[in-house]
């Protein structure tokens, strides 16, 4: 085998880096096994081209080759499998045909061919004479803000080809849910129907709301006077602020339920609730009046909320 990397790339030893890149690119185009699946010699040519390019693209190894320190064979490249090697794998998910992954009935293929031949009235061959093929499903993933997912929204996906696709996020869409947009996949060939677009939704977490099933969880800070005396406060919900009455004597961790303020799923009547967990927040700077009052209060109101803490607990 020829081991002169310059000759393999069709260059002379005075080639510039730009010429090396250009020659390599041209040869990859003509010899990549996946671009020439029927060419049995492509793999050997491509290996030689890649090895030659590996050696010459790096000025240091190129200089060592030019000085005769290393030979042109370079390092052995690891064994590689090409994509074409998987072309006849039965469960190839990428194959662009409806029903891939299922058993294809050969009779369907013959029927298609016969139909197209009848239409083509005497045209020879399969190509170009109306062989109809349905388009493939296209898969996308889409990150959606939390509130858009629970309330429903309309958005657009930008496709790899620069076009974009309108997506309606139904109310109550959950993380990981896949939406099917009929006919928005790959176009069919020869008049075949287009495939569907399958959009997997990832819901971006919210800093305040958390979704558990159809309920929304929220931790609400309250002052210690609100905790002791009770009071009316305003709570954010996914549909905007609502009033909430805090009962007197509410401790941290107590959960109040706002019925029907949770997630509504499209097409369902049942509504989730919003659960509000109270969290008592004590002022950082205690004023002297409060300190004096509590010092007095403590003297004849001794109680220990930890007295029963370990009662009944397992060892």
């Amino acid at each position: 085998m020829n081991s002169n990397p310059y000759e393999i790339l069709g260059l002379t030893a005075s080639a510039t880096p730009a010429e090396i890149k250009k020659a390599h690119r041209k040869l990859v185009r003509s010899s990549h096994p996946d671009l020439h699946p029927d060419d049995p010699g492509a793999e050997d040519r491509f290996k030689a081209i890649s090895a030659a390019h590996d050696l010459l693209k790096d000025p240091e190894t190129r200089a060592r080759y030019d000085a005769g320190e290393i030979d042109g064979l370079g390092a052995e490249r690891p064994q590689r499998q090409y994509y074409r090697d998987f072309a006849d794998q039965p469960d190839d998910r990428y194959r662009q045909r409806r029903g891939s992954g299922q058993t294809v009935d050969p009779a369907d293929i013959f029927a298609d061919i016969l139909r197209s031949r009848a239409r083509a009235s005497g045209g020879g061959g399969f190509a170009g004479d109306g062989y109809a093929m349905a388009g493939a499903d296209a898969r996308y993933s889409l990150e959606v803000p939390f509130l858009d997912a629970v309330r429903g929204a309309e958005t657009r996906i930008t496709l790899p080809d620069g076009q974009n696709l309108a997506v309606k996020i139904p109310q109550g869409t959950d993380d990981g849910q896949t939406l099917r947009l009929r006919g928005k996949g790959t176009p069919g060939m020869g008049g075949g129907p287009a495939g569907d677009a399958l959009v997997t939704v990832r819901v971006r977490p919210h800093s305040v709301f958390e979704r558990v099933g159809d309920d929304i969880l929220l931790t609400l800070p309250i002052t210690f006077d609100e905790a002791i005396l009770g009071g009316k406060v305003t709570v954010p919900t996914i549909d905007g602020p609502v009033g909430l009455t805090i009962p007197p004597g509410a401790s941290s961790g107590r959960i109040l339920r706002l019925r029907g303020r949770g997630v509504v799923r499209a097409g369902q009547d049942a509504k989730g609730d919003q659960k509000v967990e109270l969290k008592v927040v004590v002022p950082r700077d205690i004023d002297p009046g409060l300190r004096d009052f509590l010092t007095e209060w403590r003297k004849d109101h001794a109680s220990d909320p930890r007295a029963d803490l370990m009662t009944g607990a397992a060892a």
């Binding site: 699946p37 074409r84 990428y94 020879g124 060939m189």
Partner: protein, 109 residues
Amino acid sequence: MNDRFSEDDVIATVTRLTRSQLVHFVDVALVSPLREEGGLVFRRIDIARLELLCDLSQDLDLDAAALGIVLSLIDQLHAARQDLALLAGAIDTLPHDLRGRIGAAMQRD
């Protein structure tokens, strides 16, 4: 041979590939790994496809649009070749004279 690769395995196997490129290829569905509870699972076919994507984007400087077009054409080519192989297999089972007539019809251009 192991046929399940995590995201980290893929980065270690396809040395030219950066994590952000991998995430991008998955996002735009140029590769479709299995989504399992523990994360993404790539198969050997995905590795081969990622090697091809690296060749096309790094050696041939294809941009995102061209990558999508080329991969889609290759996938369609694979499907067409499989249909052809199926057809050839079916023709092989036909009686000798029918095979001869099909052969003769294909010689005509």
